[in-house]
Amino acid sequence: MSDSLDQIFIHAKQWLLSFISGRAPDWLIQIASSLINIATLLGVFLTLFALISVLERKILGRMQNRYGPNRVGPFGLFQPVADGIKMLIKEDIVPDRADKIVHFLAPVLIAATAILSLGVIPYGRNMTPFVIDGGILFFFAVGSTTELAVFMAGWGSNNKFSMLGAMRAIAQMISYELPLIITVLPVVMIVGSLNPDKIVGAQAAYSLGFMPHWFVFTPWGATAFILFFVSGLVESNRTPFDVPEGESEIVAGHMTEYSGFKYATFFMAEYIGMFAISGLGITLFLGGWRAPVHFLDFIPSYVWFFVKLSILLFVYIWLRGTLPRTRVDQIMNFAWKFMLPMAFTCVVAAAVWHYTGRGLRGWLWSLAVIAAVYFTLSILLDTRRKFAPRTYRFAE
């Protein structure tokens, strides 16, 4: 029963396709199946987007000891509908001497890339929308085009603030793209393939019944996941690193000149980017749609995926609620001086772990390597930057 429940969506799709499978040529069938995938994907994640946008405000509220939006619908659940309608009916202002085409294309491109990156994540047992041999690479390739889109947004609106915001965003995203990819490297190295399904497959086994072989439980896996999660935060311009559209400084960064539906798409793209990054994180480190314990296997795979996803999202929102915004140069330094070396050590630690027999001994050895590098780095970075005495500068 669990299997049929697990594969319910797949069967549904097969059922739909059966209508046209007989009559149409095969490329039409292919297109149809990919269309179905896309449709379900959009449906699921757009509703999730709406839900999360409200939940985020309610959770933040609760964190700040206040209620979130609770006026619209029961417990404020219809708030996204209200927001959506608000966005739609707002006038779409385009700056006069802005670069019309670029201005218009920017939001489209951002949304497209975000959605594209969703396509390769395995949501459940053989529920990966597009199975590409170099799935992970596809994810990052598409991810990297967001910078161009952000730039187009910044440039198209012909506004100094937006331009500056775009610059900052791009700088930030480029410098964190490197650690992001290098943390993924150990996983791919251990699994030996760029295909997400194979990666999830590699985390299938359980040791002693209740210990799943997720990579996050290996020393290098843990550090890699943390680094991956932080880079993910930066990639999606989330809270601690949401400098580009830091309200207090440069209005809305590259999105200042956008209003109405274009702004909505930017907003949506941001959330979908967040979903994609966390989805990938889950696939790589948290065993994808695998159950944490063996005996909970009966629950369908996609349920586990979304449970893990919601946990990660909560962490996102949690972070947004608590951490202050970091300065741009601190972000940069942090990336190049701490994240990159640590990422490389994860690769080394993974190698050590692998060659010392993947057992406890390997575990300990890789932990030692990581600990050693961590401490030297902290000493190195720390000594040179004692906390500068607080200097007060008053406006003249």
Partner: protein
Amino acid sequence: MSSIAFVAITILTLAAALAAATLQKLMHAALSFAVMFVGISAFFFLLGAEFVGLVQIFVYIGAVAVLIVFTILLTRDDVGKVQSFNWSGVIVAIAVFAGLVWAIANTKSLPLTPPLIEPVRVQRIGELLMTNYVWPLQCVGVLLTAALIGALILVMEEKT
């Protein structure tokens, strides 16, 4: 189906390339340049070399396009002025094109149909990289670091 795709992609790429070559507005040209590379990677997908396509997107659109756009940004003061367009280049290009086409037409063994192949998996490429092509890989590594440092030095603001 693939022939239709082939035609579509060709049109997309060539149009984007022509736009990149001829558009007066620099930014539009640069962006069409990026679009062209999407077209080219599509080509690669079509020819069964996914990995190269992905790398193409990743490298060109991810890095080079951004670089170009940034350079255009940094050298903006005369962007507004109309850049003159000299026609001798066009003539030479057309001549070369005609020459190449003539050469292609003349070589006998070319009109082949694509044989069926199983797609090259990334793992296979990884193996090759690590076995036959280790030396070129190291050289490219050195080259890239050198380029990195070189570019940095060239662009670094003098401390004065």
